[in-house]
């Protein structure tokens, strides 16, 4: 194999967006090393512009016919482009909202940004990884960077503890995931590409029941994936990590890392496990039911804003799984649409929480009492984002939820959709509770933190980016519902442009119709 033909086979231009992010990472690390601490004044903007350029570059690759790169190791199809875009965008917003927070906590900013960029890189590669080794390395890049980010406030015992718990649970879940992957390698007779594994498993199963080996591999793999998307019962780490770690990190974990988990789930299950389609669908039904119930019910009892958002994100993951379970073309499209909207509304919510904790130093819900009189902008932003998370019209979250539930209903998941409706009504209750707390009228009900609320100043270093991200997130959250057409067509086009989803949907509808015919006979 000579060099030119090898380089065409590798097709490295598919990962150009990742290379841009990598360049930004290297620039941040090296410049911080050379210039010293003063570099942290401009390194965040280098990182953000790198991420945005990478998103633009992703747009250019939309209709790429040669999406397979690295001899089948990486698949840059439309599905991966959407997920990589979500992850890169969430990282960009996270950097904007973290500048002031990190400076105020007295830790180094440039290292924080470089670790965050590495996590982004891992997530982006994970969204397109099409082969077991690449999946594993990308997953670990994402996970190890997340452990480091979680423990970044190293003099805060809560941050230490969160990092230790996250590391131990995460490392053991990735060991279990890896055991499942090694079984896949063996069961397929030595294949590591997902497509080959899918074919080999289908061949070896034939028409009979799947062997116990395939089922065990499936269960182990799902355990690893469910940990990443924090589905109940693999959620134990979520509230602790969310409460203990720095708030910008939580924002990234709840959006970027979760989106990467969903991308992995779709690609792995659809490509490698079509033969046990019924089984994994069943497992995800169970996960979705548990996540929706537990996430939304336990959130009622929370007193800390970060823990509340943690449980709410568990519940939201349950809703997103509806689309995966439906398994239709619109099912996947509604998932992607929901994740997009979730990106904006959740990051908007976290921006407000960060602003509040920067000014008052607390994130207890009771301390938000009476905030309306001191800071109307913050109150408005947080209220809009929470209403959108709860799914109140005309916010974007309402339309995203509506689409998801409608798709689930179309696919015949009546019980699941009803449960989702009930739990989202419950979720509205705890979101409204926070809003009610903020807009109390009487001054004597104001909490101590709000009474001593500092004068709002936007010209302090690092506050402008916070303001920009607050306003843009809130604007998108409130307008994206009414003007949702571009996002919606993007989500639909990404599904219809992805060959692997198309072939899977075709195959599964055929098999469903066959079983229907069987049952009628």
């Amino acid at each position: 194999m000579d060099v030119p033909s090898l380089s065409t086979q590798l097709n490295p231009l598919v990962i150009l967006p990742e290379l841009i992010v990598l360049t930004a990472l290297v620039v941040v690390v090296v410049c911080d090393l050379i210039v010293g601490r003063t570099a942290s004044r401009w390194t965040p903007y280098v990182a953000v512009s790198g991420l945005l350029v990478s998103v633009v570059q992703l747009g250019f690759q939309w209709n790429n016919d040669h999406a397979i790169a690295f001899l089948g190791g990486f698949n840059g199809d439309a599905l991966s482009i959407v997920f990589r875009g979500i992850i890169a965008l969430s990282a960009a917003v996270t950097i904007l909202i973290s500048i002031r927070y990190i400076e105020q906590s007295g830790t180094a900013l440039s290292e924080f940004i470089s670790i965050l960029l590495a996590a982004t890189l891992g997530g982006m590669f994970l969204s397109g990884a099409d082969e077991l080794v690449t999946i594993f390395i990308a997953l670990e890049t994402l996970s190890i960077s997340s452990y480091l980010l979680t423990g970044y406030m190293k003099r805060d015992p809560r941050s230490n503890e969160a990092a230790l718990k996250y590391l131990l649970i995460g490392a053991s879940s990735s060991a279990i995931f890896l055991y499942g992957i090694s079984l896949l390698y063996g069961l397929s007779g030595g294949a590591t590409k997902l497509v080959d594994i899918g074919t080999a498993l289908t061949l070896s199963t034939g028409l009979g029941d799947p062997s116990i080996g395939i089922v065990i591999a499936l269960v182990f793999v799902i355990a690893g994936v469910a940990f990443k998307i924090s589905a109940v019962p693999f959620h134990q780490w979520t509230p602790d990590v969310y409460e203990g770690s720095p708030t910008p990190v939580v924002a990234f974990l709840s959006v970027g890392s979760k989106a990467a988990g969903f991308a992995l789930a779709i690609r792995l299950l659809v490509t490698a496990f079509p033969v046990v389609w019924e089984q994994w669908r069943f497992v995800f039904v169970a996960l979705a039911i548990l996540s929706m119930i537990l996430g939304n019910v336990v959130a009622l009892a929370q007193t800390s804003m970060k823990r509340l958002l943690a449980y709410s994100s568990i519940g939201q993951a349950g809703f997103v799984m509806l689309g995966l379970i439906a398994g239709t073309e619109q099912g996947y499209a509604s998932m992607i649409f929901y994740l997009f909207i979730y990106l904006f509304m959740n990051l908007g919510g976290f921006t407000c929480v960060i602003l509040f904790s920067l000014r008052t130093g607390t994130d207890q819900i009771s301390e938000y009492a009476g905030l309306y009189q001191k800071d109307p902008l913050l109150t408005l932003g947080l209220s809009l984002c929470l209403l959108s998370l709860g799914g109140i019209p005309p916010m974007a979250g309402f339309f995203a939820k509506l689409y998801l539930f409608w798709v689930g209903w179309q696919a015949g998941l009546y019980g699941l959709v009803l449960l989702a409706l009930v739990t989202s009504v419950i979720s509205i209750y705890y979101y409204i509770r926070v809003i009610k707390m903020m807009v109390v009228k009487e001054p004597q009900e104001m909490s101590a933190a709000v009474l001593h609320y500092p004068v709002v100043q936007w010209n302090l270093p690092g506050m402008r980016p916070l303001q920009v991200s607050l306003i843009s997130m809130v604007l998108i959250t409130s307008l994206a519902g009414i003007l949702s057409n571009p996002l919606l067509s993007l989500a639909n086009a990404s599904v219809s442009n992805t060959p692997l989803l198309q072939s899977f949907i075709k195959a599964s509808t055929v098999s469903v119709s066959i079983t229907d015919v069987d049952s009628h006979l």
């Binding site: 001899l71 190791g73 906590s105 590495a118 190890i144 190293k154 007779g189 100043q457």
Partner: protein, 199 residues
């Protein structure tokens, strides 16, 4: 059975006994230092198993990285975290251990049924043996190029992050006071990182 096969079978048996015994020791030993050394024993005997599986290169890598790096790192951590600590006993700890043991035995029973009932697709071609190192190199620079390069980012970030988390914060302004200042590294006082003291 000729001599070579006999040697292989005997060493296989010995090595697996060593692996299982040392692994049980890692988990059950009371003294954490014994556990760490037994962990080294597990790593070395597993690398012996790799040699039996015709993988000399990986066996070497196992000894170099696991014994030379990971195990030494763990020993260093034990020395740095060297408080002799008697954990306060919890009542009903034995119930937890018993239940966990039963669960693990059940898991083993499940996995071994799976191993024994699955018809593995044993290949008929001979093992690559001496060619293995060459093949690994070719893989690393063709179809596994992407994970190979990504692993460098992973290692870089692990390096940076581990240094950040483990180093002490040096005091910049005030010099360390006291007579034995030369003996201890100055460290910034541990004030809480209250995030929003004053905007």
């Amino acid at each position: 059975m000729n001599l070579a096969q006999g040697v292989q079978v005997v060493s296989l048996g010995l090595l697996s006994l060593m692996v299982l015994g040392a692994a049980l020791g890692v988990v059950l030993a009371n003294n954490i230092v014994y556990s760490a050394f037994l962990l080294g024993g597990v790593f070395i005997s597993i690398s012996g198993l790799y040699i039996l599986l015709n993988a000399g290169f990986v066996a070497t890598a196992q000894i170099l990285i696991y014994v030379g790096a990971v195990n030494v790192l763990i020993l260093f951590a034990i020395m740095l975290v060297n408080k002799r600590e008697d954990f306060a006993p919890i009542s009903s700890a034995w119930i937890r251990k018993g239940v966990t043991g039963l669960v693990c035995i059940g898991l083993f029973a499940l996995l071994s049924t799976m191993v024994l009932t699955t018809p593995w697709l044993i290949a008929s071609i001979p093992a690559s043996g001496e060619q293995a190192t060459l093949l690994i190199g070719e893989h690393l620079f063709s179809d596994f190029l992407l994970p190979f390069e990504l692993a460098s980012v992973l290692l870089l970030i692990a390096l940076i992050g581990a240094i950040i988390l483990a180093r002490r914060e040096l005091i910049v302004n005030e010099p360390a006071s006291g007579v034995d200042a030369g003996l201890m590294l100055p460290e910034r006082p541990r004030e809480g990182v209250a995030v929003g003291s004053d905007p």
